[in-house]
Symmetry: C2
Subunit: 383 residues, 2 copies
């Protein structure tokens, strides 16, 4: 018996499966067209099922941030990049214990961290590929001088269980410079070139140069030297992605289904999706005179979630003639989808108004997944 | 063998058990002193274990927002207030199916919602107590006129399975008016009186008048008519609570233990607690010239998390002589603790630097708990 959207309990994240497939196909085609290796970041979906769809469409491997993500994805992929500093005993131990058949690359920006990583690799009887993380303007992690990058690359080459594999950067700052994206990309390209030249000059030309994120992904082919991209958000997209022009509004595949629970206060309606369902992420894009808020309705983009409590979202009705009734369902396009996925245990896949499938957000949380997946009742089918 | 903080994997929420006990005792003593019924909101801890401690100290019952919270708390408490509009088929069905021995009160602000609630009560062969939710300045939910409150109370009395029990309000707006708290409370008191008088005039004097939240809780006895308070945050407290003066800094019982994972960019340190561990909640208090940011270090309150990505928090080191090294652990006091608890599956209880206990955040998530708790292996011991 088919279940329809109207029967679902809210708040709940739902994914339009046709839009998801379109988004997966589009990024795969872009990477193929420009000869870029596609290594999607799984932080957006945290699901081995979606990861398998990415790999089936030609992704060369996956990118992870947490060790739980890496452990879960090791079930479906044998080439993982852990794009997070390998610092802390537990993180190192879990890296070392990833299944032996998985080729693991780690991004590093510190020589001391390298020594610990080398010890962990030897204890785990394995080798790690290492990318030197460089800072090209995001100012979060990464070394900012070519000299420092060279010193770390040479340090890697001296470590018995590590191999220098290339450079990694995260151009997250470029999304916020929409008007100047071309100029920002040009600057990034010339900065990157100084790193590549410095490494080449000492006999360590970077084999892999890994960049990209969804907002900048569609133009990464314009940056010389880049040969790998790591977009995450593109599978689902979100309000920020749409408003900076990196996707169309109807390519937003994930929405939060919510119910109108109060219309008592004039000029607004209250839905049951608040901070604990939508997150409180800023809109990182121009909002065309709208309140930026925390999300907008898929079917009424002029209606914005302007205020929230933990379990309440306030819809501002001042810019719409639409008048919701108590009990009506709405679909909210969140500002930042990666946070929404992290707030739920399960995703519901729909086609039109019919529920087709449900899948767990397997890599949500922090705990070890290896034992759980191997022994527990929740081991997923190989996809 | 004792486990110490230094051995824990980060990021992870840790609770100082001595501070927790102090906070529980203090609020219980306040309520007793002023003859107020204490009905703590469980949204902050989502744990039957902490709820049992609240009840043991004299709480008359518990307040819940989600139905999962109510189902979990029904295991330890037979008097629950569901302080959330009972709208939507699934929510009504779960309300009706709460264990028969539990006395359930529901807050309502709409006559149409009442009719549905009455049908649900009859299907569940039970009665609901009903509080009329009134809006005293928060402008979120609730009726704003005494006439409307009277009409809804009379509607309740006509419904065969519902009993009018009194009034409820949420003074969440008062936290942001720190300087004018006395005046805001006085206004609130006189507004509330008009509702009480209107109901009394038609022969429906409200037996219960339920208000309060942690920021305003310590002064709720100054508001005539209020006889019940529903604070949540006080068990753990947070940076906002401390900076508005509703607790001391060293009464913040929950911190997020994090590890310094990068010091590559000058003037800052990066920790492994970002938006997915701390939330992105604003500081709702004056920050004394500090960047408001998203949290501050317990042991270095001048060090603020000024920027975040999903798994990175940036500590601004410009106002401190403290210089962290790679791998150092820090304890972050978050701006809003209720959001942090919702982001994790487990809490670690510590005394000093020693880990003493761990407990699951049982009521996190949305799914039904009744079957799970009754049949599954995770049924908690009766406390």
């Amino acid at each position: 018996m088919t279940t329809y959207l109207e029967q679902l309990e809210t708040p709940v994240p739902i994914v339009d499966l046709d839009r998801l497939a379109f988004n997966l196909d589009r990024m795969a085609a872009y990477a193929t067209l420009h000869g870029l290796q596609l290594r999607p970041h799984v932080k957006t979906h945290k699901s081995p099922r979606i990861a398998a769809e990415q790999l089936r469409r030609g992704a060369v491997g996956l990118t992870c941030a947490t060790l739980r993500e890496a452990e879960v994805m090791a079930e479906v992929c044998d080439d993982l990049l852990v794009a997070y500093p390998p610092v802390g005993a537990a993180r190192l131990e879990r890296l070392a214990r990833l299944p032996q058949q998985v080729n693991v690359t780690v991004a590093v920006d510190d020589a001391q961290a390298l020594d610990a990583l080398n010890v962990a690799a030897r204890l785990g009887r394995r080798q790690f590929e290492v990318l030197v993380e460089v800072d090209l303007g995001m100012h979060r992690v990464g070394v900012s001088s070519p000299e420092r990058a060279v010193a770390i690359a040479q340090h890697i080459e001296r470590a018995s269980a590590l191999h220098f594999a290339g450079l990694m950067f995260y151009p997250g700052h470029i999304r916020e410079a929409v008007d100047d994206q071309a100029e920002a990309l040009a600057t990034l390209g010339s900065d990157l070139a100084t790193f590549v030249h410095a490494l080449t000059a000492v006999g360590l030309p970077p084999k892999r140069v890994s960049g990209g994120s969804t907002p900048a992904a569609w133009r990464m082919h314009e940056v010389p030297a880049v040969n790998e991209v790591r977009p995450g958000t593109y599978v689902y997209n979100d309000r920020t992605t749409a408003l900076i022009g990196a996707c169309e509004w109807d390519e937003c595949a994930l929405t939060v289904l919510a119910t109108v629970v109060s219309v008592a206060v004039p000029g607004q309606a209250v839905i049951d999706a608040g901070t604990k369902a939508l997150g409180r992420e800023p809109l990182r894009a121009a909002s065309d005179g709208q309140e930026p808020g925390y999300g907008a309705l898929l079917d009424h983009p002029e209606v914005v979630v302007t205020r929230m409590s933990e379990e309440h979202g306030i819809l501002d009705l001042s810019k719409t003639s639409w008048r919701p009734r108590l009990g009506d369902q709405v679909r909210v396009v969140p500002n930042h989808v990666c946070i929404v996925v992290h707030l739920f245990d399960e995703i519901i896949g729909v086609r039109g108004h019919a529920v087709e499938t449900r899948w767990p957000v397997t890599a949500r949380g922090r705990g070890p997944a290896l034992g759980e997946l191997a022994d527990g009742p929740s081991r997923p089918r190989a996809v």
